[in-house]
Amino acid sequence: MFLEYTTIFIFLIVGIAMVPLMLLIGKILRPHAPDDKKTSTYECGEIPLGSSWIQFNLRFYVIAFLFLIFDVEVAFMFPVASIFKQWTQAGFGQGWLAFIEVAIFVGILLVGFAYAWHKGDLNWVRPKKKE
């Protein structure tokens, strides 16, 4: 089974190497004549004002946080998912046990989800706080 990961590894290497290779082929054929106007930042024809490496909105950070929590949850659930069917086929007792465990695990997260929802962290446009 671990032999299969050879293919994955080679796929990643080929994936990385393919882009420079494609560019290298084009290098012989394509023109190369950069000038100041051409290599300046595109801003719809205007002269670009300042850098765009700026501080951006905090709500992207909140989204990233929520994602992290959910994704870790999903990653932890995968082993359960892969054997859940065997448990349910083994009999009612084991099936219910597995279901209750899944329900508790998901339930804890859903409480957090409900909290985030109630607090308005899921809203993209935040309503202004009332004074």
């Binding site: 089974m1 032999l3 299969e4 050879t6 293919t7 994955i8 080679i10 796929f11 080929v14 994936g15 990385i16 393919m18 882009v19 420079p20 494609m22 560019l23 084009g26 054929l29 394509r30 190369h32 950069p34 100041d36 300046s40 930042t41 595109y42 801003e43 719809c44 670009p48 850098s51 765009s52 490496w53 951006f56 992207f60 989204i63 990233a64 929520l66 994602f67 959910f70 994704d71 999903v74 990653a75 995968f78 998912a81 892969s82 859940f84 069917k85 065997q86 349910t88 009999g91 009612f92 279901f99 899944v102 329900a103 998901v106 989800f113 929802w117 899921l122 809203n123 993209w124 446009v125």
Partner: protein
């Protein structure tokens, strides 16, 4: 069995070829997949999309290069190859060059676990579906790097929007893939398909799986930034989003991977919800083995291409979502639905001892 292993088996009695180690066959099959399938398929998909767009908007579409314009994609590729490669002076050069590489890597490597047929799969991983989630979420990293490295306001906005969107829609995607694994009892792609033999398709397993198929399809559309969820590259707002500063071959890579990813999600939908290479009343035990690969590939590709055409149809029919609507759709509709379906499927599994709807029907008669 996977494709490299099959090659090794075929050539095991040849004088020189039998001494080749496994990785040679792996490399050969990876290159074969990329050059014989991914690149031509992405090209043809672009052509088909433009033709469909033409039909929907009551115009002809590409019709100059070759008969019915079918060679248009080769002309496009050549044009992009001959374009000058511009790196903006103010951009972060290293990251600017690195971003397409990581996007290409993750986009192409997700093909490794697509089961075209029982033996025609690049790497028959025991955690295939988990690998798929891991590798496709790398795209968001490439997108955010390209947006940041360009040092362009459009790119930055596009990259951040794309990252927020991809990351959010990753949750319903992962949840629905997990629920499918839970219902079908495996993480291996081939096992997943074989658990759906005959009419026992994923969508017919239970009512929740039927809803989940739609949840998956919608959120996967958003994950690959297809219209109606293409706000990261909304032309009317952000010029071209995170790839504004990319030109020539580098742009071609973004473009190619967009179509490759679109195919990947269609193939995954086929694998876990539409029964892969299985059709109702078709039993592979009654079919001679040498016909298995062509038949399975044909059925699989037909289903996947049907979904791809639906995707294009959606793209040219619906208007674009707004950012806040999009996030609302994800977090307040799709995620709760996915959780309900997860618990519902688990409950169904317990109540009916792991049997799907079709299996239960079979027990009745």
């Amino acid at each position: 069995m996977s494709l490299p292993q099959m090659l090794q088996d075929i050539f095991q009695y040849w004088p020189v070829l039998q001494t080749f180690p496994f990785w040679v066959w792996s490399t050969l099959s990876v290159l074969a997949l990329l050059f014989l399938f991914v690149f031509p398929f992405a090209g043809v998909a672009v052509y088909v999309e433009r033709k469909i767009a033409g039909d929907i908007q009551a115009r002809i579409g590409p019709n100059v290069v070759g008969p019915y314009g079918i060679l248009q994609w080769i002309a496009d590729a050549l044009k992009l190859l001959l374009k000058e490669d511009i790196i903006p002076k103010k951009a972060d050069r290293k990251l600017f060059i690195f971003a397409p590489m990581i996007i290409f890597m993750s986009g192409a490597a997700s093909f490794a676990v697509i089961p075209f047929s029982e033996n025609l799969i690049l790497a028959n991983l025991n955690i295939g579906i988990f690998y798929l989630i891991a590798i496709t979420s790398l795209v968001s990293m490439g997108v955010i790097i390209s947006g940041w490295a360009s040092n362009n306001k459009w790119s930055l906005l596009g990259g951040l929007r794309a990252a927020a969107q991809v990351v959010s829609f990753e949750i319903p995607v992962a949840l629905s893939l997990m629920t499918a694994a839970l219902a079908l009892g495996s993480l291996n792609m081939v096992d997943l398909v074989n658990a759906q033999a005959g009419m026992k398709w994923g969508i017919f397993h239970n009512p929740f799986m039927l809803i989940l198929a739609f949840v998956y399809y919608i959120s996967a559309l958003a994950e690959v930034n297809r219209t109606p969820f293409d706000i990261p590259e909304a032309e009317s707002e952000l010029v071209s989003g995170y790839n504004t500063e990319y030109s020539g071959m580098r742009f071609a890579i973004f473009f190619l991977i967009e179509y490759a990813d679109a195919f990947v999600i269609c193939a995954v939908s086929t694998t876990i919800f539409l029964g892969g290479w299985h059709l109702p009343f078709l039993n592979y035990a009654h079919i001679p083995p040498f016909l298995h690969i062509p038949l399975q590939v044909t059925i699989f590709m037909t289903k996947a291409c049907f979904l791809l055409v639906v995707m294009m149809w959606i793209r040219w029919t619906l208007p674009r979502y707004r950012v806040d609507q999009l996030m609302k759709l994800c977090w307040e509709v799709l995620v709760p639905f996915a959780f309900i379906c997860l618990l519902g499927t688990a409950l169904w599994m317990v109540l009916f001892q792991g049997k799907g709807f079709i299996e239960l029907l079979g027990g009745l008669f």
